[in-house]
């Protein structure tokens, strides 16, 4: 046990003196997370979206004018007037647009006559950010217009029942104006609140856990490389002929890496919280548990990697491929909610997926310690399997 601790202290001293290692462990992930957060920031801040809508009003009637006016009133929509050709090409004056709306001739007449009126919407299939937003704005505005027209029709029908001689057109106009006014006040409103009482999402909240887990795995790869380096340089051999057990050598190195992994993710979350306002959820105990079990599993995975390869060059190839694959499959780069079901199930073969399930429950959904116990249990077992296979397969002596 004493020698296990000696090996741990020695390894931590080596990492502590390695400026490059700290840049890789802390500065690089911070830069990557920050860049990803700023890039995706607008997606989390609805009010700041300014979506440009290319619009051609071929009708020019009262209803279409009202519709255009409604779009212009929306503070998140910038209406760019255009012709049909430009709308169909989604391009005007050399600038490309993602959504265009054409109000065809006869639209107002059709609406006023109570017939079926259609709007023509052109979209760029490659756009995933503003397209859903603008389409929903167009659909919402069209629905409101339909509601006004329905209200006017119903009013005319009802008034005619009690006063058959009334001026139907006047009734319709008054009813439409009143309905429009009522809808302006939005009598039915959805009160939206975040589950778990967490504050609105910060892009750091969604990016930091995924990238932190990925960089923790990269950090563990560096530790696995250190283990192979000890074997290749002869220091491991020197320890093997000293009165120190193999369990102490490997255990000491594991403990050092485990501590470094915990320190790494803790520092990343601390900087994220105090510098970038990242949410840490409502359960510090839950967060601590997830950090510890993720670090354990990552460390055990590092031992497994080191045991599977013969040289550091092989480790680089296998390690980078493994970490990138696990990060892609496990949701470090995008949420698993958007991938097909079979990919989600495949993703749960990775450390990342289980770690992120737990971390996201805590950070994004404000859940407590109890909620992440299943994920923590899976990660503990995952780490135990990697650890047992790793130490059984690890070759202490140089292969050559």
């Amino acid at each position: 046990m004493r020698n296990l601790w000696n090996v741990t202290i020695k390894d931590m001293l080596i990492v502590g003196k390695d400026r490059g290692a700290w840049i890789f462990l802390l500065i690089t992930p911070l830069i990557v997370i920050t860049v990803a957060s700023f890039a995706l920031g607008p997606a989390f801040e609805g009010g700041s979206i300014e979506a440009e809508l290319l619009l051609a009003d071929e009708d020019g009637g009262a209803v279409s004018s009202g519709l255009v006016e409604a779009f212009r009133k929306n503070e998140n929509v910038v209406v760019v007037d255009a012709g049909r050709g430009e709308c169909e090409a989604l391009e005007k004056d050399g600038q490309e647009y993602e959504v265009a709306l054409v109000i065809p001739a006869g639209f107002s007449g059709a609406v006023e006559a109570g017939g079926r009126a259609e709007l023509e919407v052109f979209v760029d299939p490659n756009s995933n950010i503003t397209r859903p937003f603008l389409v929903s704005v167009i659909q919402g505005t069209a629905s409101r217009l339909s509601a006004v027209e329905v209200a006017a029709k119903v009013s005319v029908l009802e008034v005619m029942k009690v006063a058959p001689g009334a001026d139907a057109a006047a009734v319709a106009g008054t009813a439409a104006a009143a309905a429009a006014s009522e809808l302006e006040d939005e009598p039915v409103q959805a009160a939206i609140s975040n589950v778990g009482g967490v504050e609105d999402l910060n892009p750091f909240d969604t990016q930091a856990p995924g990238y932190s887990v990925m960089f923790m795995l990269f950090g563990v790869m560096t530790a696995a490389e250190g283990l192979l380096l000890e074997r290749e340089s002869g220091t491991l051999g020197r320890l093997l002929v000293a009165p120190v057990s193999r369990a102490s050598i490997l255990g000491g190195k594991l403990l050092a890496q485990f501590a470094i992994a915990i320190l790494q993710i803790t520092l990343l979350f601390t900087v994220g919280h105090f510098v970038f306002g990242m949410n840490l959820g409502n359960s510090i105990a839950g967060l601590a548990l997830m950090i510890v079990v993720t670090a354990w599993t990552a460390t055990a995975f590092g031992i497994l990697l080191a045991s599977m390869v013969k040289t550091r060059r092989q480790l680089s190839a296998v390690g980078i491929l493994s970490v990138l694959l696990m990060s892609a499959l496990g949701g470090s780069w995008w949420p698993l909610d958007i991938v097909p079901e079979f990919m989600r199930q495949l993703g749960h073969l990775t450390i990342n997926a289980w770690a992120l399930d737990g971390l996201n429950d805590l950070i994004l959904r404000g859940k407590g310690l109890d909620a992440v116990l299943p994920e923590a249990g899976v990660l503990l077992a995952y780490g135990a399997v990697c650890f047992i296979i790793g130490i059984r397969m690890f070759r202490f002596r140089s292969v050559s």
């Binding site: 080596i14 002869g234 220091t235 051999g237 020197r238 002929v241 000293a242 009165p243």
Partner: protein, 325 residues
């Protein structure tokens, strides 16, 4: 061809007894039945070319490798059965620089000292003592990666001495060092021996073994081919020196070797194709009759060399190959 040292009652007790050690790797026999005895206080030299089996032998004695067959004892402890106890009394200085390059000399020594159970002020004073012995105390807080090859070798040696081992295994400790560092390492080895530590020294440099070792075992292709003190070994070549001749135009005629051996001062003759190695009690006296025999046999001498016997020539004599091949 092995020379068995005479059993003398006042000889120091054996501390290491290797008994028919054998190590095979996937069909390759690296060490093939090696036996020797190392006595307390000796500097025991294991000489042989690269790949002879020296490092494998050291690896087995240090408990790093298990013998495929045979056994060895160190201070009465079996390397096969009592490896843990042996680890506490031996010191190993491997051929590789087995240090942590980003740590300082002092940090490296502290770590290895703690591994051997040293601590506190005793560890600090032992580190200081060894760094002063290695003339590196002033550089104690410099990273090892900033040291020259010779300085690294000295720290490497210090790391094996921290716990006052009874038996020190030095595996080619002068590889890649400058002459000044080499001299310093030699001085240090004598000091270690004088402090009571028994040393096993491997090298493929015969000059080093000649200079340092009290007893020498020559190993080739995994087998002991000669053993004894330097004097005993050189006697194989003849105490008076060696005449080396190259005959022009092919091999020597038959019967020449026997005729040469018939001369009183000639102790041994070895012939390899057109080369003759003639050992004698006095090469200057032997030369004229040798030349007459050659002339009578119609041999033309292409080259002639007279030299004092040394281990390099002994190795060639025993194996027909250069020691550094």
């Amino acid at each position: 061809m092995a020379v068995t040292p005479p059993e003398i009652d006042d000889m120091p007790d054996p501390i290491v007894i290797a008994d028919n050690l054998e190590k095979r790797f996937d069909g390759l026999t690296a060490v093939d039945g090696v036996s020797f005895t190392i006595r307390e206080g000796q500097i025991f030299g294991l000489l042989g070319p690269n790949g002879a089996g020296k490092s494998t032998t050291i690896s087995m004695l240090s408990t790093y490798l298990r013998p495929t067959a045979g056994d060895a004892s160190i201070d009465g402890l079996s390397i096969g059965r009592e490896a843990d106890a042996i680890k506490k009394i031996i010191g190993v200085v491997p051929q590789d620089i087995a240090l942590y390059p980003t740590l300082t000399a002092m940090q490296n020594l502290r770590f290895y000292g703690k591994i051997y159970g040293l601590g506190g002020s005793h560890l600090e004073s032992r580190c200081r003592e060894l760094l002063e012995l290695m003339e590196l105390w002033e550089r104690r807080d410099d990273r090892v990666e900033e040291f020259s090859g010779g300085m690294k070798r000295r720290v490497n040696m210090a790391a094996g001495l921290l716990h006052h081992p009874r038996f020190l295994l030095l595996d080619e400790p002068t590889v890649g060092v400058d002459p000044q560092s080499r001299e310093h390492i030699f001085e240090t080895i004598f000091r270690i021996r004088d402090s009571g530590t028994t040393i096993l020294y491997t090298s493929h440099y015969m000059e080093e073994v000649e200079l340092l070792c009290d007893f020498i075992t020559i190993i080739d292709r995994g087998r002991v081919i000669a053993a004894g003190t330097l004097r005993e070994l050189l006697k194989i070549l003849g105490e008076g020196g060696v005449i080396e001749l190259e005959i022009a135009g092919g091999e020597c005629p038959g019967g020449l070797t026997a005729r040469l051996e018939g001369h009183a001062s000639v102790t041994a003759v070895k012939q390899e194709k057109n080369r003759l190695l003639i050992s004698s009690d006095n090469s200057a006296h032997s030369l004229p009759p040798v030349m007459r025999e050659l002339e009578a046999a119609g041999c033309e001498v292409a080259s002639l060399e007279l030299y004092s016997p040394n281990l390099e020539k002994l190795f060639i004599h025993l194996t027909g190959r250069e020691l550094r091949e």
